[in-house]
Amino acid sequence: MITSIRGQSLLSLDELSRDAMLEVLDTAESFVEVNRRTIKKVPALKGRVVASLFFEESTRTRLSFETAAKRLSADVLSLAVASSSVKKGESLRDTIATIDALGIDAVVLRHRSSGAALQVSRYVPHVRVINAGDGQHQHPTQGLLDAFTIRQVLSERRGTTGLESGGELFVGLRILIVGDIRHSRVARSDIAAYSTLGAEVRVCAPGTLLPDDVDRWPVTVADDFEASLEWADVVGLLRLQAERGSGAYVPSLDEFTFTHGLTVERFASIRPETLIMHPGPMNRGVEVDSRVVDSSSAIVEQQVANGVPIRMAVLYLSVAGSGES
């Protein structure tokens, strides 16, 4: 169990304690303010080098991480996969060794294989590794920014701040996660974050899109989607990838929408204060109707905006390490 990510890699939320998560959330609060300034930059990581290695296509996460690193004044080494020697058959191990030889403090890694971040952390134990999504395993900064966003929005509604709310706000909070849990690294990180922070987590999905042995996860499985929508304080939707709906896991995308899509009809029956979240990119019309996304219940844009302060907090704590402030 990791009780603080100061000076540590961030590979998964499974082994992070509640205090470690709250430390990231609280640190991010101070960076929200930085992002509102005219000069959006602090010298916290001046002279430090952060390598951004995305072995899988990504726009928003990469942009978010690199923005975060630059706002902390770190130098960013960005490896574009298309132009790298990975395409020439170089192994992950050799690529990492090459980047490491340039002198780096941290690696932000996105890879299509589950466990790649942990493997890289073994290859370069002196470098902090920040997992920016590994296969179907974890996407820790997404889980943290989702928790951060929930705390921020609910605190504002209560006329207080996230910092003042602390972790109490999550205790007993009812969070429903809907859709392709089985293949989703976001779901795994969200479930770890929410359950560790004290929320009550329920999942709802077609039987084929639930993970193996889900009864041993810290969640309850609900068959009744409509009833669960009424139950929930927060509804987290997940992206359904087209290939899952081609008869492989569900008969069609239309059928998924029929059983588990957040349609206008279903949206009409949920409580007005319920929050709707989505990690993006969205399939409008599949897992969620456009009119739902554009309603005031949806906090998708806040999620995107909070990506930067959360990643600033993670990079700052991880790279600046302990004993520095």
Partner: protein, 436 residues
């Protein structure tokens, strides 16, 4: 060079006693409480050691021809000798495949240059593609007694039934890798809570058990003999044990990694722990150990599967399946059988006598060009012997193995019991735990 083994526990098929064994010219010349050895014989001190028939591995991937960077017949034989093996059955998934007289002859010829008996398991189907039958009769004429498409099971039940009907009158045995690829394909570890948490696609126990169930029924329908390779689940073992008790001609092996490691070993995403069938649950491991101790297991087989580091050290889902086995199988079996409580008769049954019977390597049925294995320690028997020291502890060091590859999941693990000497075809090939 003639050899005398002094004062070891001589482990026979049913009883054991302390004594000496004299080996002259490739044959056991004399056995007794104290043997007069002619001058000039090499003496091996076997005090506190067990003397038994050399081990027989039913399941070795020697990688030659085709992937000599991972292993060669020569390096595999050295690894085998250090592990106490006197005979190895080479699996046919080489490049090209061992599905014809030419490639089988090549492996047998290369094998004959090593100190061990290198036998071959021929492919059941051409190219191990699972459709057209390979020329089993021609390969059987070269001495091949086992056939397998190992690496992948024969998926089509019609092909498997045809293969059993064809093999039966040839007096050979089919060895099946039981995993239904429709269910297991794409999976990289045991399906369950751990795979779900790790985000790794699972290979369910069901994929193995359904094929075991199917093939037991095919054996019943055809009357042919079948050997089940590397069974890894409690139910698979229970089904084959029950079928055997019914009188069906079925045998099975278990691999040391399946009775010593469970699925949680994959939590670090170290590809050294990736294997097919995958490491299962703790309950399955316990069931395999219990079956071993009850004497239900016909053979322990290594599934020794070397991979060159550059091909194995990849992200978990991209890495090939398989792990080394030859050099630590005996220690792991000794530990699983209870360590200090290990019954030496059972130990040699599963590592030597059982597998020798399945591979038809005993004295009355050993095919041409091989010596006899798995016999009693009696004058007149071929001298394939191992001297095992149960009291020796050692630590696995992947860089110090004789195999060309390093993909052992036991690196750094302290093990009990070690092979002190191996006498293969009358030659002392390992002495004091090192190759001579």
């Amino acid at each position: 060079m003639d050899i005398v083994l002094r004062q070891g526990l001589i482990v026979g098929p049913t009883s054991s006693s302390i004594g000496d064994v004299l080996v002259v010219g490739g044959t056991i010349a004399e056995v007794g409480p104290s043997v007069d050895a002619p001058s000039g014989v090499h003496e091996v001190d076997a005090r506190d050691c067990w003397i038994g028939p050399g081990f027989v591995d039913l399941h070795t991937h020697l990688r030659e021809p085709g992937r000599e960077a991972a292993e060669t017949i020569e390096s595999g034989a050295r690894a085998g000798a250090l592990g106490g093996y006197c005979a190895l059955v080479a699996m046919p998934n080489t490049e090209p495949c061992l599905d014809n007289v030419a490639t089988v002859s090549y492996v047998l010829a290369r094998g004959a240059t090593t100190p061990l008996d290198i036998c071959v398991a021929g492919a059941i189907t051409q190219g191990r593609r699972g459709d057209a039958l390979a020329p089993m009769a021609e390969m059987a004429a070269l001495g091949v007694r086992l056939f397998s498409d190992d690496g992948i099971g024969v998926q089509d039940p019609a092909v498997m039934r045809r293969a059993l009907l064809y093999a039966n009158p040839l007096g050979v045995r089919l060895a099946q890798h039981c995993e239904d690829e429709q269910l297991a394909g794409g999976g990289t570890m045991n399906e369950g809570e751990v795979s779900g948490r790790l985000g790794l696609a699972g290979r369910p126990a069901l994929a193995e058990e359904l094929m075991v169930m199917r093939d037991i029924e095919l054996v019943r329908a055809t009357g042919a003999a079948m050997h089940f390779l590397h069974l890894s689940t409690a139910r698979s073992v229970a089904m084959v044990v029950a079928a055997r008790a019914e009188g069906l001609r079925v045998t099975f092996e278990v691999a040391p990694h399946h009775f010593t490691l469970d699925e949680r070993s994959c939590e670090g995403y170290d590809p050294a722990f990736k294997v097919h069938p995958p490491l299962r649950t703790g309950e399955d491991v316990a069931a395999l150990v219990a079956a071993l101790r009850r004497g239900d297991v016909d053979a322990v087989a290594t599934d020794h599967a070397p991979h060159a580091p550059e091909l194995k050290d990849l992200p978990f889902d991209e890495a090939p399946a398989g792990m080394l086995g030859l050099e630590h199988a005996a220690s792991l079996t000794y530990e699983a059988l209870g360590g200090a409580q290990c019954d030496p008769t059972l130990f040699f049954q599963v590592l030597s006598r059982g597998p020798a019977a399945i591979a038809q390597l005993r004295r009355h049925d050993a095919p041409l060009r091989h010596s006899a294995h798995g016999g009693s320690i009696l004058a007149g028997e071929d001298a394939n012997l191992v001297i095992f020291s149960p009291g020796t502890r050692w630590t696995v060091d992947r860089t110090a193995l004789a195999s060309r590859s390093m993909n052992t999941p036991y690196d750094g693990r302290a093990l009990a019991g070690r092979v002190r000497a191996t006498i293969a075809k009358g030659r002392l090939v390992v002495d004091q735990g090192v190759l001579t």
